[in-house]
């Protein structure tokens, strides 16, 4: 009997998952209290779910094609600058930029296809809402395709004209790349205006009649989302490029090719880590504007239905950072003679894990009847508040920075006369930074709330100040340092490449999660406070269902991306002679 009921509950789980998928295709199509003409069903599809999936996929490909040109053009520029001083480095950078760009044409088509699908779904399944949106944003709907076409043209000329505009015509090629970026950014800003208008509408009357198009575009959420998306897209694009590099490295049996792709993965990971540091601030800025617009957003996101998403987010971000750090520790293995640096990795590992465990400790916990202490745990609750989390996360950043310092030092011997004292002072400063941050945090823990906010700001100051000081000290210290062992690119253990792939999967999933949070926060509104969603599907799914859909989106995205990767890989027959010259040696800049 018992086994039977267990079996049945297992079955029910499977059944629920099946139902979720099935509901994509058939939904009871009767609307309550709304004109059925407002929400026609297309072929029995659950329109809300379909729009969710199409929008998220479109957004991810759009993010990719927007972000990759940003750093690809920058890397190309670096190569161009190095042309006079170091020809090999120049060619290597040019190769890398081109390699990244080679992913773009297919990704571009996928952006357009998913975009068309999204547009089709919106116009057929949500005619009333789209009528409203066109009424408000009419002119932008005309400008948008123009910029999109301009962006496309720039991309194709930039990518396919790569080898034609080399040498003294390179400046023109770079200019084309710049134009591509400018048009791409404009396209995103226009689309952001629509998305943020739905969250924080402005420039219309309470009935939704247009008063000022300017205000509707520049609504309170517009700039914050623009900034947040720009930064996050670069992180996202860089991690996907790293994953591509990992994929190529794992497939390759040519040592020189492996060296190049190893370097590509390393560069992508570095770009991602650097931009990731700014993301929390961009996120807070966006959040502040939302909360200022309506207290409902504050309640929904911080204590209400969607607050659990942020606990999941904390864990996922921890996975990202730990993975990136692990990758950098494995990176030491490709530098012969870095044993002194490698000895620190296990210590850093413990600190990082402990720090993130504190950071991800929830303030309110999910508990069964026997375990329940009423949503708040007297011991863990003390870890779940701001002060210990600030200590944890700033110390984690110190550890990551220290890893970076060690990596710079690996295989190099300083030659300046004051090397010994310099090194002592440098690590003394790093230690002092850590101690000060912890002390400030402990002081803040026992202080009243308004002082605690100040101590956490001071922790950031100490962190930035400490990093700046030691960074310049380190630059001076390693000036003219003797390189005793060059980086042996391509010799990193294969598991490092799998980490890069994992990081790409995690960032895609995270992007899906946060996309859901942003859009779901509107609750039952198409346009918050102005146009209500009265369709039969207007409810929020449960956490589990949302996670399933996000996972499904991630899977579809990677299936499509795999096609793009394969096509890009097919198109790029590597030039044997070029490789000999290109293989990166020594420290990349």
């Amino acid at each position: 009997m018992a086994a039977d009921s267990a079996n049945r509950s297992r079955w029910r789980g499977t059944l629920r998952a099946a139902c979720l998928v099935a509901s994509l295709f058939c939904t009871a199509a009767w609307a309550q209290g709304s004109d059925p003409g407002d929400y026609p069903t297309i072929a029995g599809i659950n329109s809300r779910l379909a729009v969710w999936i199409a929008a998220q996929l479109h957004l991810m490909f759009a993010a990719f094609v927007l972000a990759v040109p940003m750093f690809a053009v920058f890397i190309e520029f670096l190569g161009w600058r190095a042309e006079k001083t170091d020809r090999v480095a120049a060619r290597r950078h040019d190769w890398l930029a081109h390699e990244m760009a080679s992913l773009l044409p297919v990704a571009y088509s996928l952006t357009a296809i998913t975009g068309a699908l999204l547009g089709f779904l919106l116009f057929t399944a949500y005619p009333k809402f789209m009528h409203h949106l066109t009424g408000v944003f009419g002119p932008t709907f005309i400008v948008y395709p123009l910029f999109f076409v301009a962006e496309t043209l720039c991309l194709y000329f930039w990518y396919y004209g790569w080898h034609r505009w080399q040498g003294d015509k390179k400046w023109f090629h770079l200019l084309l790349g710049l134009a591509l970026n400018v048009f791409g950014t404009i396209v995103m800003f226009i689309a952001d205006a629509w998305a943020t208008y739905m969250m924080t509408p402005a420039g219309v009357t309470e009935q939704g009649a247009l008063v000022s198009l300017y205000d509707a575009v520049w609504n309170p959420g517009w700039m914050p989302l623009n900034i947040h998306r720009l930064v996050a897209n670069v992180t996202f694009g860089a991690l996907l490029c790293s994953a591509y590099a990992a994929y190529r490295l794992l497939l390759s049996d040519d040592a020189r090719e492996r060296a190049l792709y190893d370097w590509m993965g390393y560069t992508g990971n570095l770009i991602a880590l650097f931009t990731m540091l700014f993301l929390p601030f961009a996120g807070y800025y966006f959040g502040f504007e939302l909360f200022a617009f309506s207290a409902t957003y504050g309640v929904t996101l911080m204590g209400g239905v969607l607050s659990w998403l942020f606990i999941i987010q904390a864990i996922v971000i921890a996975v990202l950072f730990i993975g990136a750090a692990y990758y950098s520790w494995l990176g030491l293995l490709r530098i012969p003679g870095s044993e002194a640096q490698q000895r620190w990795s296990p210590v850093f590992n413990v600190l990082l894990i402990a720090g993130f465990a504190v950071w991800a400790t929830p303030h309110t916990m999910a508990a069964s009847i026997e375990e329940s202490t009423g949503g708040f745990h007297p011991v863990l609750g003390a870890l779940g508040v701001m002060a210990p989390k600030m200590i944890a996360v700033t110390l984690v950043l110190v550890v990551l920075y220290a890893s970076y310092l060690l990596y710079r030092r690996a295989g190099r011997v300083p030659t300046v006369g004051w090397a010994r004292t310099g090194t002592t002072v440098e690590w003394g400063l790093v230690g002092l930074m850590a101690v000060t941050i912890a002390a400030l945090g402990i002081f803040g823990y026992f202080a009243p709330a308004h002082i605690r906010i100040k101590t956490s700001i001071w922790q950031i100051y100490v962190l930035i100040g400490g990093i700046a000081a030691t960074f310049f000290l380190d630059q001076a210290l390693l000036r003219g340092a003797k390189t005793v062992a060059a980086v042996r690119w391509g010799t990193m253990p294969r598991r490092g490449q799998y980490v890069l792939v994992l990081l790409a999967v995690v960032i895609v999933w995270l992007m899906g999660l946060m996309g859901y949070a942003r859009s779901g926060a509107r609750l039952n509104w198409h346009v918050f406070g102005i146009m209500e969603d009265t369709s039969p599907n207007a409810g929020l799914p449960s956490l589990g269902e949302a996670a399933l859909v996000i996972t499904l989106i991630t899977a579809i995205f990677f299936a499509l991306l795999a096609v793009a990767f394969a096509v890009a890989g097919m198109a790029r027959g590597t030039d044997e002679r070029a490789l000999v010259e290109l293989s990166p040696q020594g420290e990349p800049q």
Binding site: A2, S5, A6, S9, R10, S294, A295, T296, G298, V299, T300, M302, G303, G304, V305, S307, W308, I315, A318, I322, Y326, W329, L330, L333, Q342, S345, P346, N349, V350, L352, I353, A357, A360, T361, T364, M365, A366, A367, S368, I369, E370, E371, S372, T373, G374, G375, F376, H377, P378, V379, L380, V385, M386, A449, P493, L523, N524, F528, G529, L543
Partner: protein, 258 residues
């Protein structure tokens, strides 16, 4: 120091150390009282096991050291080492097996409850709440209103929410599941809320969580004629506002502005 480490290494091979550390952390977490919810232990152990995996795979020599312990049997090794190998080979599958069994066996407890600190309410509902002029601006709250609020609070709310507004009233321990009475001095409760929301929460909002929370519904009798008899407590809307003024004054927070 190094001598000690070397001695440890010869007598306790890497796999044993890893398993011992993971087990020690697990036991330590299990020993904390009041118990740490299983969901949180799972989270922590996820981090610990990830850390252990990273530790073992930091370089190839370590991986070899870990695997060779199970594979490279020399036959001349001390008995203690052999005992450790067999112990690990027995313990690891047993633990995994237990884990699977435990996840699959039928349980009769209600599912784990994920509680929302603040039930979600539509903007249109909150718009209908009008804040009286004398309650709208914290700078202009009259001391006598707050004093009336304090009396009402002590009579009606303190049993649960505590004299000091810290959620530690004499009855609080009785309401542990799924959530205990709110601690108003914690930055996560009323400090996050606007006045209309708190008013709604006090007079109507309980209804959403009626079977989930001990928080009664303090119906203002004139405004809600058909209030539920189960959760009806009489506070006029004037009184309700005064209690709200007091919980903010008493906890030192200000209501969130709209």
């Amino acid at each position: 120091m190094t001598r000690l480490r070397d001695a440890w290494r010869t007598h306790v091979p890497l796999p044993t150390s890893v398993v011992l550390i993971v087990a020690a952390i697990y036991v330590a977490l299990k020993l904390v009282r009041p118990v740490i919810p299983g969901s949180v232990i799972l989270l922590y152990m996820g981090f610990v096991i990830a850390g252990a995996t990273i530790h073992v795979t930091l370089d190839d020599a370590r991986i070899r050291r870990f695997l060779d312990f199970f594979v490279e049997v020399s036959g001349r090794e001390p008995r203690a080492i052999r005992a450790q190998r067999w112990a690990l080979l027995a313990v690891i599958p047993l633990v995994l097996g237990w884990w699977v069994y435990d996840a699959l066996r039928p349980k009769y407890a209600p599912p784990v409850e994920i509680f929302q600190r603040h039930p979600t309410v539509g903007e249109e509902v909150l718009k209908r709440v009008t804040v009286p002029a004398w309650a709208a601006d914290p700078a202009k709250w009259r001391a006598e209103d707050v004093a009336v609020g304090k009396r009402l609070y002590e009579a009606n709310c303190a049993v649960c929410h505590g004299e000091k507004l810290d959620g530690q009233g004499p009855a609080a321990e009785g309401f542990r599941y799924p959530i205990r009475p709110a601690n108003f001095t914690d930055a996560g409760t009323i400090a996050q809320l606007t006045l209309p929301y708190v008013y709604w929460r006090l007079t109507v909002g309980g209804i959403q969580n009626q079977f989930n929370s001990a928080m009664p519904k303090w119906t203002a009798s004139d405004a809600e004629p058909d209030a539920s008899t189960l959760h009806s407590n009489d506070l006029t809307s004037d009184e309700a506002w005064k209690v709200i003024l007091y919980i903010y004054r008493g906890s030192g927070f200000e209501p969130r502005r709209e």
